[in-house]
């Protein structure tokens, strides 16, 4: 009886260590997620139908429709060189807060990615542009052959501007919102409206 004890002890130790190793291995299954699972990432391209206020799907659909339409316009397809465009204001004429700059940013990004047009610095970016030019040309800190000269900025051929309007109707059981986004491309030198398109969206919800 006495002789068996020294043999069983290492065997138990070995078994228990294997058990612990197994538990540790299964308990720490590699996962790149930190957190207790309350937060989930969703699809940024999903149809957002949480409320009938202006949402991400509206912004994405407007930007996509306007970009594709503009890419088929004569101004771009018949131009010998890539036209230089600047973004002007898109007025928000609805009763709700809409970041119209976000819409024009998306349009500019998609048009830029298509490679069909170039963009000149627009009004909100002008301060940064002149600051940088002045810093390079007037501070005396830069090599002469690398500092950018004043007076060589390119003027845009066209400006993009537009507006977003809405009509809201409510009954005891329904709320209906109609959005209309209009975008215009204007020849800066001649003042001629060269291209225009609109996107309509209707959203209805039960109250």
């Amino acid at each position: 009886m006495k002789s068996t004890a020294p043999h069983t002890k290492p065997a138990w130790l070995l078994l228990s260590s294997l058990f612990v190793t197994g538990c540790v291995t299964t308990g720490t299954t590699p996962s790149p997620v930190v957190g207790d699972g309350n937060v989930q990432y969703g699809d940024a391209k999903a149809v957002e139908a949480v409320t009938n206020e202006f949402g991400s799907t509206d912004l994405q659909m407007i930007a996509e429709d306007m970009t594709r339409s503009l890419l088929q316009s004569r101004v771009i397809t018949e131009s010998k060189s890539r036209p230089l465009i600047t973004i002007a204001e898109v007025k928000n004429k609805t009763s709700e807060y809409i970041d119209t700059r976000s819409i024009t940013d998306s349009i500019r990004t998609q048009l830029g990615k298509s490679g069909a047009v170039r963009f000149a610095v627009d009004i909100p970016e002008m301060q940064n542009q002149t600051d940088e030019l002045n810093r390079q040309s007037q501070s005396g800190l830069y090599k002469k052959n690398t500092s950018k000269k004043i007076g060589r900025m390119e003027g845009a051929d066209y400006r993009l501007e537009g507006n977003i309007a809405s009509i809201v109707k409510k009954s005891s059981s329904l709320k209906d919102v109609y959005y209309k986004f209009t975008l215009n491309l204007i020849n800066i030198e001649s003042g001629v409206l060269e291209w225009s398109d609109e996107k309509e969206i209707r959203k209805t919800s039960k109250r």
């Binding site: 699809d43 391209k45 994405q60 594709r68 088929q72 990615k113």
Partner: protein, 144 residues
Amino acid sequence: MKSATSHMKYALLCLALLFAGFSHAAESIASKIETLGELKNISVTSLKVRKQSGLLNIQAEFDNSSVENQPLFYRFKWLDASGFSVWGEEPWKPKTLYGKQKAFINAIAPTPSATDFRIELQTSGNKTPMNASDKDATSIPGHP
């Protein structure tokens, strides 16, 4: 008698070619459509493609066989000749097909490098892979 037999043969040949044409068209439509689950009541009846100003133009005709309105969600994937994606993911777009309506969905490729495409489709009545565990689930794309 001989001429009647040859006429019969010619007619059969024409019919065979006609059916082959139909089946080829159906096959080519099916090769461009990617449905998330089985589409109920909605079918793609024609698909037209042309190139205008260097950009691919697509026109797909959808047919709602039901008398009920059918919400549909769709988006395009743009590919180059080698099958590589040449544009980021498009947003899902909603479209309502009225009862028994045939409607067109048009799209213009975002870049001249897009030479091929796929249409992703989902209807809210789909039994989608996203909700495979829930047999009667209805869903909006991205909202499981």
